[in-house]
Symmetry: C2
């Protein structure tokens, strides 16, 4: 990294680890090294730490500790949700419904099931990236096993009507999963208010570390493991528990719970200030995603007459952001999310995702806006 790193506005790609989280993890990288499956004191101390973290994560989302399965990442949690329910129900139900704007971590296992003979319905989104519950209902069939609609989109930040969708699916006896990787810590995530059976969390999207995720599994939900080994995590995820990262996830969940809803308000204020400054400096700047039902930290905008990639390159010394999902940063192709929203090619080309976070300051917002406006003027010849 250069001596003065650019201003980080890519919190949707990954967040820094909160100092409180790193501090909580450190003892488990030093003296507290036991294997939670060992019955001696070293092991029991590790098992207790994992149990406490499980309760903290559960508390963040209104669940019970026994309903939390720790995984190696959110992708694994999404795979467990889709493929694990498919394993449990596949003898009688072989139809799956997802939205058109799911992350690859949901879309890819869905396509995998399709390749294995499942029927897959991909429900469209409107111009704001929002799924219509009516469209989901129309997609449901007698053999539908699961509906998976993300809580909030990772690119444009649009929040989906998960609670309405879940109620309609449950009326028909169908399970509901939501990928809440982007929403936890930014907006309220409550499994009962959402009414979901399965919910995915990603540590490194809310100030815990990479290498840990969690799947909420409502008690009684039919699901089977997708990896095979010993019987950790209620038999749903084999392998020695990642104790330091799990402890960190617990600490991050506690922080998120304590800081909401003020955190959301603070993020929204910074995000909106950035939006205003850019809109003033860039005539024709267009907002993508839902104007209100949107993550408070996410500003996905299209700069007119330039490519988003070229703009970020031109502003690279000032701002670190992305043109879309980090998973696709190397490709200049139009984002699948924008395509699903029927965003026209020119607007899609000029799109940039700016996402703020807990460490973002007013000063950073001002400097970032100035840098982006200046880069746009140079590129657009204004």
């Amino acid at each position: 990294m250069s001596a003065t790193p650019p201003i980080y506005l890519d919190y949707n790609a990954t967040t820094p680890v909160a100092p409180e989280v790193a501090d909580a993890m450190l003892p488990f990288l030093r003296e507290q090294f036991g294997n939670p499956s060992s019955s001696h004191p070293h092991g029991r101390a590790a098992a207790r730490a994992v149990a406490e973290a499980r309760d903290e994560v559960a508390a963040l989302i209104g669940a019970r500790g026994g309903e939390i399965v720790f995984t190696g990442c959110a992708t694994e949690a999404n795979n467990l949700a889709l493929l694990g329910v498919a394993q449990a129900l596949g003898d009688t139900r072989r139809h799956l419904v997802v939205s058109a704007v799911e992350h690859p971590a949901v879309m890819a296992p869905a396509r995998r099931l399709e390749a294995q003979g499942w029927r897959l319905t991909v429900v469209p989104v409107d111009g704001h990236g929002r799924v219509s519950p009516d469209d989901v209902v129309r997609a449901l069939r007698p053999d539908t096993a699961l509906v998976s609609v993300m809580h909030a989109n990772n690119e444009v930040g649009t929040i989906q009507p998960v609670a309405e969708i879940a109620a309609l699916a449950h009326d028909r006896g169908i399970l509901v999963h939501t990928d809440a990787a982007q929403s936890a810590g930014k907006v309220e995530v409550d499994v009962d208010r959402l009414g979901v059976d399965l919910l995915t969390l990603a540590g490194h999207k809310f100030y815990a570390t990479k290498g840990v995720g969690a799947l909420y599994v409502r008690a009684g939900t039919p699901i089977r493991s997708v990896l095979f080994g010993a019987d950790q995590e209620h038999g749903l995820r084999p392998g020695t528990e990642n104790v330091p990262a799990i402890v960190g996830l617990g600490a991050a969940a506690r922080l998120a719970r304590e800081r909401l809803p003020e955190a959301g308000q603070g993020l929204r204020r910074l995000r909106d200030r950035l939006h205003q400054a850019l809109a003033q400096g860039v005539p024709g700047l267009a907002l993508n995603g839902h104007p209100e039902a949107r993550l408070p930290n996410t500003l996905h905008v299209s700069f007119p007459g330039v490519s988003g990639r070229a703009l970020l390159d031109a502003a690279a010394e000032v701002v670190a952001a992305s043109v879309g999902s980090a998973c696709h940063s190397e490709h200049d192709a139009v984002s699948g999310v924008l395509a699903a929203m029927s965003v026209d090619a020119g607007r899609a080309r000029g799109a940039v995702r700016l996402s703020v976070g807990m460490m973002t300051t007013d000063d950073e917002i001002e400097r970032a806006a100035a840098g982006l406006v200046s880069a746009w003027r140079r590129l657009a010849g204004r």
Copy 2:
């Protein structure tokens, strides 16, 4: 944990994180938090760190960086090896060979394939827990896809003749995997000398942290992903990379490479000293596992006339060890490994696994031996 923790002799369950490893990880829990898939400086710094760790891990086992796939744990690496090769070859080859003493992380995916219609041959072991290459050859069939025989056993420490097995399997065009979770850092692990196509490493068995493993995949080996998402790790393991733990694995690999073969000699000296002291104090103490072809840190012994569980309970204030694999610590049933070795019931009942490590001292060995002998005398009425 109590104020004075007992002497840790359970390094085969999990190791402490080496101070050098924790130090290497810390910057990636603090300022270096980028997502390796991001194209800005934060992301590129993370990608570089992952690439350097990949080269370090490759160097430990005589491989190239491009042949290393980082996973969330060794269990996941074993699942990827077995299920991933099965995905790639299953149209034409549907037979698998494993040894009778594999860890659940190999045995369970093997049983999973069997449940899906694969034929599974479980090759027996002798009284020392060793597989005969002749038995493996007899098990091979024209439709055998893969042979998976562990490098060293996690309970008794017996080292398998993997190189001989691999040569015989390769003569017949059959792929070979070995689970080297227990051997890395203790004995030489070289993919070319072993001649294997796939090899599993576990971070937390050689002084890296829990939550990271690796699968070596020899260039050209047919294999497919078992989890589905974005295209990290050559498309073989989706999900944002666990950068801090991967950096730690790289540091642990470098340490292991620098310290071998002296490390093995030091471990053997401590282990043999413990064995001598116990044999002097406990007439009839029996060694389990191979007398020579055995991990230098592992002492698996049966105490006469007592149960291993009761002995460890009686010595709990002095020694932290286990009666077998950590995965089974809660059960008092006879270990599957000892059963496969045809160890008689009384001897199996008295078995204890004592495993030393890099932090073990001569003083600890003396005190541990005294505590175990004293506990045995009390229990056995001697």
